[in-house]
Amino acid sequence: MEKFQILTYPDERLKKISQPVLQFDREFKDFVDRLLYTMRNSPAGVGIAAPQVNRHIQTIIVDASQYKHKHNKLNHGLMVLSNPRIIAHDGEIIIREGCLSVPDFTGNVKRHYWIKVEAEDINGNTITFDTEGFEAVVIQHEMDHLIGKLFLDRIASPKDLFRRKVYKK
């Protein structure tokens, strides 16, 4: 399988709004397989959103299970979520986020600590679950891609943006 090419900012296609997924057919599932392959073969990838590979549909993949983080005590493993909605939230958490589409920076971003999510699974069945901490942050980060937002849109203060340790020439 071949990886998708990941769009990187300032590519303006990252700012486009994605459309709901209506057909959970073979073609969609093939796309999800390749999206997952792209995420698995990106460094430390814990999540990816369809618009990051120039497919503007409301699908995200999240897998917080592989990553050690102090706020990652509870997670649901690999999830493919389409048309995700946050229907309740509580608390706040700040995690330093990096993004495959913004390779030169990381930033401290404030997110909801606890969220209740409604979404469609890979077969189009509606599911509801709640999660917290690290997994909740990853879901919120990926959902932002669906509305054309990057973590840079959420930086609270100049002191919360950091250049990567290694500069790219």
């Binding site: 430390a44 814990v46 983080h69 330093r96 986020e97 990381t106 950091f162």
Partner: protein, 176 residues
């Protein structure tokens, strides 16, 4: 490519940044790195700038003389020799350190000395104080061979000596 470091300090007022960057823009300079902030009622500007042109420190100083007078700034300009200017490199692991306690002389010095003695590099440091409480926040780079247990013991000693609190947290960033 020529690089210069420019610092400017003056009483805070609107237009300092615009005044300085107008000169740079008109001369075709690129701002490579910068920190600009208000400290009490003084505004401090620190810039690393670059140009392809053969410009000397003296010419640059001359170009800044108007804005220096107009905004009552103290401007300092120094060329960074090519052999010294370099892209930043990875230097070990990044940690955040927060120190807070009752205000007393020596907090910054003693924390900085503890770090310096262990070859821990400070990348960024800020302090804030009220009449009672002193806060120091730093981003530091731990060398790879650092003995964390030894460091922890030294920190405990310093906490007792100065009656302060110190927390150290590794900065992790995650790709999403």
């Amino acid at each position: 490519m020529k690089h210069f470091v420019i610092t400017a300090v003056g009483e805070d007022r609107p237009g300092i940044v615009a005044g300085i960057t107008k000169v740079l823009y008109e001369m075709g300079f690129n701002i490579e790195d910068s920190a600009m902030t208000r400290l009490n009622n003084e505004f401090a500007v620190m810039l690393i700038v670059s140009t392809e042109e053969e410009i000397s420190e003296d010419i640059l100083r001359e170009k800044f003389s108007n804005v220096e007078k107009e905004k009552n700034l103290l401007i300092n300009i120094r060329e960074i020799p090519e052999e010294i200017y370099r892209e930043k490199e990875e230097r070990g692991e990044i940690y955040n350190i927060v120190v807070y306690g009752g205000d007393k002389p020596g907090i910054v010095y003693k924390v900085a000395k503890l770090l310096a003695d262990r070859n821990i590099n400070i990348a960024d440091l800020r302090t804030e104080k009220t009449p009672e409480i002193y806060v120091l926040i730093a981003q530091v780079e731990f060398p790879e061979n650092l003995n964390l247990e030894d460091l922890q013991q030294e920190i405990e000693k310093l906490k007792d000596e100065l009656n302060i609190d110190i927390s150290i947290e590794k900065v992790e960033s995650v790709e999403m």
